[in-house]
């Protein structure tokens, strides 16, 4: 019985075809992973500079002056520089880490393996997608080095700040144009990736891998790809119009009679900044789920594997993923309660936002149900999955506050929001990546990571991120606005300075312990003990092949699936796990 063969191609010879312009989904997945790893350290460095400036606004640092001769003349950071650090931190983290690693990195590597395919449906498109992403990253980072520096309109690029040009700030010249260009390129890359993921999942499943036998990771990659397919298309349209406003001089997002820096903007008229917000958040809210859904998939997969129990309510999990994806497109307005919205619309958006709490709660209770009565193995990968559940619940609960228009009027643009989205979209998603790294590293690189170092890293990071982001909720409730570079001269905010100092020190600590992760990663790459085929006694297809897998994934064999993805501790079975490819007679279920 032949599996679809149109994706098959021969193993390439030579370094360039093998590792640089590779068509192999496994190499491309690793390329994405390291692109994300590079980006996350840039993003983290920017956040440390921001936290440093917040508690030392007057500090003169010699190397600031060397890096930014005008924006930090004399070593003192200007508010504009602070804002550009914030913009680039947000943009790089959201697009080049949260969107890239869980989906394009792990998804590229493991989707074909988990569904029993030889490669993605379109290998050339896959390669193009990675290199387009790479170009987008280069264009984005180059914004630091042009005249005026990086943009300062935030990762949401709200006009008129982002549309009116240099008059709104030094980074709003070339820097902002490069930002939009990079995002437009990234939209193209995401589109290519999304088409590939959906076509692969639908068309290339091996025999017996019906939809309800797919691991939950594959379900989340599929739904994430659908969100990317629809969301980035709208962002692309918005980006094209913003570029026209900036370069040609149209007025899509610029109203008439606008005053900026005591000057009337006379050559624009009739546009609406709200229009951008509608278009942006139509993409932006699904983008939140693009970041978090793959982490949910990894967590579901790992909780089951390491608790040696089937996922509690597999079908409910699938339907919850699908409904989260669907509802994600109906709630963009909850980002705009303060932008001038009809209260009736706000109520509708609020109710729909609360509705997302239902599938989210289903997932959380099913995770707890999966753990209940299990024989839990506390490996590092499992610890990070448990950490994901913790962060998801913490971040999710503050989301219920922000989804209420009445409360959002108060919390909007305070540190409460910063704490909320970092918990759920930032750190939870990052924990999903750590979990994936510790779980799949043996398969990707053929070696095991160090468990002791991993656990120290986990505990330090877990405590560290809670110390950074929990106090943000409290300073937010106290009315501390976000995006301010210096609040030492505001009386009621100055009283909060000790809390900010605590958060800054927690950030230094958390960043420092990431070195443990880097040491673990790179030491294990070369010196880790050799990994067996299936070190975690998992059931899914990637563990039926050698570590790392052969070029065509299954060594010319077409796998046949007879079991669901989570058949752990089945009564009467010889082992406590049944591989998906085991013969049907092993179990009486299914």
């Amino acid at each position: 019985m032949s599996a679809p063969t149109h994706s098959a191609h021969h193993a390439p010879q030579g370094f360039i075809r093998k590792y640089v312009f590779s068509l192999d989904h496994k190499v491309i997945g690793i390329q994405y992973y390291f692109l994300g790893l590079f980006s996350v350290f840039i993003g983290m460095g920017l956040s440390l500079l921001m936290r440093f400036h917040m508690v030392n606004p007057e500090a003169k640092v010699a190397w600031f002056a060397k890096l930014w001769p005008t924006a930090a003349a004399g070593g003192m950071m200007t508010p504009e520089l602070y804002l550009s650090l914030m913009t680039m931190h947000g943009t790089i983290m959201v697009f080049f880490v949260l969107t890239t690693v869980p989906q394009s990195g792990f998804g590229n590597y493991f989707l074909p393996l988990q569904i029993g395919a030889e490669d993605m449906a379109f290998p050339v498109l896959n390669m193009l997608s990675f290199w387009t992403t790479f170009i987008a990253l280069v264009v984005m980072v180059s914004a630091f080095f042009v005249q005026g520096g990086a943009p300062l309109a935030g990762w949401t690029a709200y006009p008129p700040l982002s549309a009116a040009g240099r008059i709104t700030g030094p980074g709003e010249g070339m820097g902002q144009t490069l930002w939009i260009l990079s995002i437009a390129i990234f939209c193209g890359a995401s589109l290519m990736g999304a088409i590939n993921f959906i076509a692969t999942t639908v068309d290339l499943r091996c025999k017996g891998m019906r939809l309800m036998r797919m691991p939950l990771t594959c379900w989340t990659w599929l739904v994430t790809a659908i969100l990317a397919l629809l969301g980035f298309a709208v962002l692309l349209a918005a980006g094209l119009l913003l570029i026209l406003d900036r370069t040609v001089g149209t007025s899509f997002f610029i109203p008439g009679g606008l005053m900026i820096s005591d000057q009337i903007i006379s050559n624009h008229k009739g546009g609406s900044p709200l229009l951008w917000q509608h278009l942006f958040w139509f993409f932006g809210h699904p983008e939140v789920y693009i970041a978090i859904l793959p982490g949910m998939g990894v967590t579901s997969h790992l909780l089951s594997t390491f608790a040696r129990k089937p996922v509690f309510g597999y079908k409910a999990m699938v339907y919850a993923i699908l409904s989260i994806g669907f509802l994600g497109f109906l709630v963009w307005g909850h980002h705009m309660f303060m932008s001038g919205m009809n209260p009736y619309s706000a109520m509708a958006f609020s109710v729909l936002t609360m509705a997302i709490g239902v599938p989210s709660a289903i997932k959380t209770f099913n995770w707890i149900g999966t753990l209940w009565g299990g024989k839990i193995h506390f490996d590092t990968a499992m610890m990070f999955s448990l950490g994901f559940v913790s962060l998801f619940v913490t971040g999710g609960l503050s989301g219920i506050f922000l989804g209420q228009p009445a409360l959002d009027l108060y919390f909007h643009d305070t540190y409460f929001v910063v704490g909320h989205f970092h918990m759920i979209m930032g750190v939870a998603a990052i924990f999903g990546m750590f979990a994936g790294t510790f779980y799949w590293f043996p398969k990707m690189f053929g070696r095991m990571m160090n468990e002791t170092l991993g656990k120290i890293h986990f505990y330090a990071t877990f405590i560290g991120v809670y110390c950074i982001f929990t106090p943000m909720h409290f300073v937010g409730m106290a009315g501390n606005p976000r995006r301010y570079s210096d609040f030492t001269n505001v009386e009621y905010l100055a009283a909060l300075m000790p809390v900010h100092k605590f958060m800054t020190h927690a950030a230094y600590f958390t960043a420092a312990v990431q070195i443990l992760f880097l040491i673990n990663l790179f030491w294990s790459l070369w010196k880790g003990p050799k990994a067996p085929m299936n070190p975690w006694n998992s059931t899914s297809l990637e563990w039926t092949v050698s570590s790392p897998p052969p070029f065509d994934n299954f060594g010319g064999v077409h796998p046949v699936v007879n079991h669901g993805p989570y058949e752990f501790s089945v009564p009467g079975a010889p082992t406590d796990f049944i591989m998906q490819t085991d013969p049907p007679s092993v179990t009486s279920e299914d």
């Binding site: 019985m1 032949s2 599996a3 679809p4 149109h6 994706s7 569904i115 029993g116 449906a121 379109f122 498109l125 589109l191 999304a194 088409i195 590939n196 959906i198 076509a199 692969t200 639908v202 068309d203 290339l204 499943r205 091996c206 025999k207 017996g208 891998m209 019906r210 939809l211 036998r213 397919l229 629809l230 980035f232 298309a233 709208v234 692309l236 349209a237 918005a238 094209l240 119009l241 026209l244 040609v248 001089g249 149209t250 007025s251 899509f252 050559n267 624009h268 008229k269 009739g270 546009g271 609406s272 229009l275 509608h278 278009l279 139509f282 699936v561």
Partner: protein, 210 residues
């Protein structure tokens, strides 16, 4: 290996081991692209609607001649090109590559006519009506902004389609592509045609001087 296609029960198309749509992934991929691109155009038309509703003095300046006449002829050219595209796919399915190539050339000719007429119409608006992307005599700059952005994006799609069809036509003449590849190109072409069927009434007919 087509045996399993004929022996498989109807309800088991999603069992794995083959495409549930019994087609190759290229065609499915093109459908996905079309869905995505449709959202990009939807966003553009949303911008048009939003701007038009929020600007009270939105002008309706298009004269019957030349604007409406030109755009109607352009619509006719594009519709004709869809018909010739269907003929090209039909010819490929019958294995008649020469006929398929001729129909593809006819399709490209109709498409090129569309682009040519459109550019003429653009020049007429810019030079005679003084409607540009930045302003016009009614003082509603977004009239020109939305007009040129939407029709410009559509024209870009037509031009990309012409290049795409040129490549397909070449390959067909040299005996390379399969019938399905021509069909996939046809999907794109029909989609671009379909988009125009939304753009024409919304942007042209609703802006006609009555």
């Amino acid at each position: 290996m087509s045996t399993h296609v004929t022996t498989a029960a109807a309800g088991s198309l999603w069992e794995g081991g083959r495409s549930p749509y019994l087609t190759n992934s290229k065609k499915f991929g093109m459908w996905l692209f079309i869905i995505s691109d449709a959202l990009t155009f939807s966003a553009m038309l949303f911008v048009y609607t939003y701007s038009r509703v929020s600007n009270p003095n939105w002008p309706t300046p298009f004269h019957f001649s030349p604007s409406i006449v030109f755009s109607s002829v352009m619509t006719f050219a594009l519709l004709t090109s869809s018909l010739t595209m269907v003929m090209a796919v039909h010819a490929m399915n019958r294995g008649n590559r020469a006929a398929a190539a001729r129909w593809l050339i006819a399709t490209m000719a109709a498409g090129a006519t569309f682009v040519g007429l459109h550019l003429t119409e653009w020049m007429n608006l810019i030079h005679h009506e003084h409607i540009t992307a930045l302003g016009n005599e009614w003082g509603v700059p977004l009239f020109g902004g939305t007009f040129f952005a939407i029709t410009g994006l559509h024209m870009t799609h037509v031009v990309i389609g012409l290049i795409y069809l040129g490549i397909v036509c070449q390959a067909v003449m040299r005996g390379k592509f399969k019938a399905e590849d021509v069909e996939v190109a046809g999907l794109y072409w029909h989609f671009v045609d379909l988009v125009w069927m939304f753009v024409f009434p919304l942007v042209y007919l609703m802006s006609a001087k009555i």
